[in-house]
């Protein structure tokens, strides 16, 4: 492959690196270039932008303001309340996901007729585009004609139609429900994979030792699932923190500020207020938070590499 390069460059490389390293470099070059352009560059540029006051309403006055954007953000009440809402959303989502994933994984770990079909059907929520997911739930939650109202009315749990997404107290849990519904399949697969790697002999030994089903679950299954749980918790937290699509489709950050989470805040600042400077700063801060979380993921994975 070095035939592609000009002769002198090829020679210089050949002298410095052996065949293996040269091949490796060539094979990796495309990936690294692509990622440098589409991943590394935006981060660097984002950081750069965050030091300027850039408002698209006044595109020619771009003063360099050091950390002013960050300070403005930190002083903004909306920023902090949106962080709070993000945390709230993430905590309830991830908890629900972890619990549901484990229950479903327990079921799918048993062998029974129709299990394959069930697994395949389980993938439906994962495959659905987030947009379609949002639409679907928006229609279900609809205050005038939605299925949720209809169902509850028929069950007799309410006596007239309620407002769902429009109620500030209910907004985030409802969005979380839609988010959880879509994320559960992937989380289940991750937990199921960990479950399947638990050696069967451990359960046999426990049976001989006299442990019943509940005891086997507590003493063997749960402790062995810890790395799986950690992975799911961290990954889904990352996903929850940066999630945007549902907030756009279901509530557009409202009503009022009821679902104004950090991801929405970035969008609002950048595309509604057209303040690219603060938008970048906020995006950059979110990037740092997710980076820290990802560090923990890679460490958890790293223990198994």
């Amino acid at each position: 492959m070095t035939r592609l390069l000009p002769a002198r460059l090829a020679d210089a490389l050949a002298r410095r690196f052996n065949y293996d390293t040269r091949s490796a470099m060539l094979f990796i070059a495309p990936v690294m270039t692509v990622l440098a352009v589409v991943a590394v560059f935006p981060i660097a540029y984002s950081l750069y932008l965050s030091f300027f006051k850039l408002k698209l309403t006044r595109p020619h006055r771009v003063p360099f303001v050091w950390f002013d954007n960050y300070i403005d953000l930190l002083g903004d009440g909306l920023f902090w309340s949106s962080v709070g809402r993000t945390v709230y959303f993430s905590v309830i989502s991830v908890t629900a996901i972890a619990v549901l994933a484990m229950l479903i994984a327990l079921l799918l770990n048993e062998t029974f007729r129709g299990r394959r079909i069930l697994s395949a059907i389980l993938l439906i929520p994962w495959a659905i585009p987030t947009v379609a997911n949002g639409l679907m739930w928006k229609w279900i939650y609809d205050s005038g004609y939605g299925a949720l109202n209809g169902l509850l009315l028929q069950l007799g749990w309410i006596d007239k139609y309620l407002i769902w997404l429009g109620d500030p107290d209910k907004t985030i849990p409802l969005i979380a429900n839609a988010f959880v519904w879509k994320e559960v399949p992937l989380a289940t697969i991750l937990i199921l994979v960990t479950m399947k790697s638990i050696p069967a002999d451990l359960y046999r030994a426990a049976k001989v030792d006299g442990a019943n089903v509940m005891q086997r679950f507590v003493h063997i299954t749960l402790p062995s699932l810890k790395p799986g749980f950690a992975l799911v918790a961290i990954y889904e937290t990352m996903m929850a923190i940066r999630h945007f699509d549902l907030f756009f489709i279901l509530t557009e950050g409202g009503p009022g500020e009821a679902s104004h989470v950090s991801a929405w805040h970035v969008y609002a600042e950048t595309f509604r207020n057209l303040s690219f400077g603060t938008g970048s700063a906020l995006a950059y801060m979110m990037a740092i938070v997710t980076f820290v979380l990802a560090y923990f993921i890679i460490r958890t994975l790293g223990r198994r590499i």
Partner: protein, 315 residues
């Protein structure tokens, strides 16, 4: 229970625990099926209802007068010109309000498809050699490369938006599919590499050595020996990349403004902000948007699971 002679109590399989177990599994399966399918079923059911029926209180779970008119509007969009006149004349209760963007649904789907295919091809071209190198070649900086690539996915999409927007705007690419293709690479390539590296690592090292002794260059080793063996993971990568690209919303929202370049999720989302909403039509659009990925996912379920596990279990 009949009393058996001493010592014969455990001769037959006890019925009760066996039954209880089977019952529990059945009940749990039904609950799971309901949880997964009920919302989806409601979506499908709604799409077959007329506007008049869909606003019933309480809702008709199964359409009493199923109709295909919503789907007709989508697929035969060029047959009925929807103008302001024809819309304002129609009575909401009789149904038939089709958003003006309806006729861009299928073209948008075609856009989504073009983008997805391009992203898949580029992912494979770029990711496969890199994954092979990182899995099988010992070189300085191998671990660093792996970590770097994984880390890039850490960046939330939001952070990509602003810098990309400015660059793309300045390059004049704002409304083209290329903007999407390039940015989608950022969100798909790291995962692709992750899956492929995991799978390649699980293939025996000895094959690599044998091939090179037999005279293959590194590239030939990759193409002739490892690629055929890696088919399951390649399938998984194609699926993941295709689905991610098909479903992506945020970046497409930012970078495309006219229907020339808009992809399916954007069009579908735009229905919700259209002031004359035809509920049943929206649901039909949702169904159309959903069917391809769902079919793909169900057909290739085995590959999806094994593609994920190859990476996660082997590390």
């Amino acid at each position: 229970m009949s009393t058996k002679p001493a010592g014969y109590r455990y001769r037959e399989r006890p019925r009760l625990p066996d039954l209880a177990y089977k019952l529990a599994i059945f009940a749990a399966s039904v609950v799971l099926l309901t949880y997964v399918l009920a919302p989806f079923a409601w979506l499908v059911s709604s799409s077959f209802q007329t506007e008049a029926e869909i606003v019933s209180v309480p809702p008709h779970w199964i359409p009493h007068e199923p109709t295909l008119e919503n789907f007709e509007a989508i697929f035969f969009y060029d047959q009925e010109e929807v103008t302001y006149e024809s819309r304002s004349k129609a009575d909401p209760a009789s149904g038939g309000y089709i958003p003006s963007t309806a006729k861009s649904l299928l073209p948008a789907m075609w856009n989504s498809f073009k983008v997805a295919i391009a992203v898949v091809i580029l992912n494979l071209l770029v990711g496969v050699p890199a994954a092979y190198a990182m899995a099988k070649i010992r070189f300085k900086g191998r671990n660093a490369s792996v970590y770097t690539i994984l880390t890039t996915r850490v960046i939330p999409d939001i952070a990509l938006v602003v810098p990309f927007f400015l660059v793309i705007k300045n390059l004049g690419l704002l409304d083209s599919l290329w903007a999407l293709i390039l940015t989608y690479l950022a969100i798909t390539v790291p995962f692709t590499v992750f899956i492929l590296v995991g799978y390649f690592e699980s293939l025996p090292d000895d094959l690599d050595k044998a091939a090179r002794i037999d005279g293959c260059s590194r590239f030939q080793t990759l193409t002739r020996v490892f690629l055929p063996l890696a088919v399951p993971s390649l399938v998984a990568v194609i699926l993941f990349t295709f689905l991610t690209s098909w479903n992506e919303f945020l970046l497409a929202l930012m970078f495309t403004q006219t229907q020339a370049a808009q992809t399916l999720p954007i069009i579908v989302a735009s229905f919700t902000s259209d002031f004359t909403i035809s509920f049943s039509f929206i649901n039909a659009a949702g169904v159309v948007a959903v069917i391809p990925p769902v079919i793909v996912a169900i057909m290739f379920e085995r590959y999806i699971v094994s593609g994920l596990t190859a990476g996660a279990v082997k590390g």
